[in-house]
């Protein structure tokens, strides 16, 4: 199991701060999410402007996951 976290508008469209799923890599996370959310939500989760962090480090591509990893989907940030 890995935990998936949603922030800001992604938290709103999924209606949750996060969930636990079984996935061996990042693509597997999206396969599992596609079983639980409609297409328009998945489109937002996979948006070009969404960055992915694993254990709080930004990643690209399709990294492998191990049990206990934290996968976060980050929509565009702004502070200040």
């Amino acid at each position: 199991m890995v935990s998936v976290k949603f922030f800001a508008q992604l938290r709103e469209v999924t209606g949750t701060e996060g969930l636990q799923i079984n996935a061996a890599d990042l693509n597997g996370v999206f396969v599992e999410l596609a079983k639980q959310y409609p297409e328009d939500v998945i489109a937002q989760l996979r948006g070009d402007n969404v960055r992915v962090a694993i254990n709080q480090e930004l990643v690209n591509g399709n990294p492998a996951l191990v049990a206990g990893d934290e996968v976060a989907l980050l929509p565009p940030v702004t502070g200040g």
């Binding site: 962090a53 709080q56 565009p76 502070g79």
Partner: protein, 160 residues
């Protein structure tokens, strides 16, 4: 080198942070620059000019602090700015409330001004924070603007 990042729901007190930096840097700092960002009652970013009811800030505990610490390290590698404080509030804020404080102490004013502005520019584009503005017309998740991106990019040019 001394720099501290704090993410908090609670209001912050500019005076006590200033006092702390002043004491730590006594005799060495010739300049302390303080930036405070506040919630405005008009929405110009979202573009509809509506009155702002609330600004809600969200963070990712741990990653947010680190994303800001990276900005401060970059600032300290560019300028002699030994004393830095950043306090960023999260949660729901209303107009005229304080959002963020950036305080920079240096021997000289040029470095203090440049580093404070650099930090603010990168807080807009790189800090892991989200802002939702609510007005009478609805709510919007804000994005850093094209102008923010230009300002952040400028620091990467030679001679800046």
């Amino acid at each position: 080198m001394d720099s501290r990042v704090q993410i908090q729901v609670a209001e912050f007190d500019v005076a006590s942070i200033y006092q702390e930096v002043r004491e730590e840097s006594a005799g060495q700092a010739g300049a302390i620059v303080t930036f405070v960002g506040l919630v405005r009652d008009r929405n110009e970013i979202a573009g509809d000019g509506a009155a702002v009811d609330t600004l809600t800030l969200e963070h990712y505990p741990g990653m947010t602090e680190r994303s800001i610490a990276v900005i401060l390290e970059q600032a300290q590698s560019r300028w002699p700015v030994p004393w830095i404080r950043v306090v960023h509030r999260v949660g729901e804020l209303t107009p005229s409330e304080q959002i963020v404080l950036v305080m920079v102490g240096s021997a000289h004013r040029e470095a203090a001004f440049a580093a404070a502005e650099f930090i603010m520019d990168y807080l807009k584009t790189d800090a892991v924070l989200w802002k939702r503005e609510r007005t009478g017309l609805g709510q919007t998740w804000l994005k850093s603007t094209a102008q923010d991106a230009v300002r952040a990019e400028k620091w990467r040019q030679p001679g800046s």
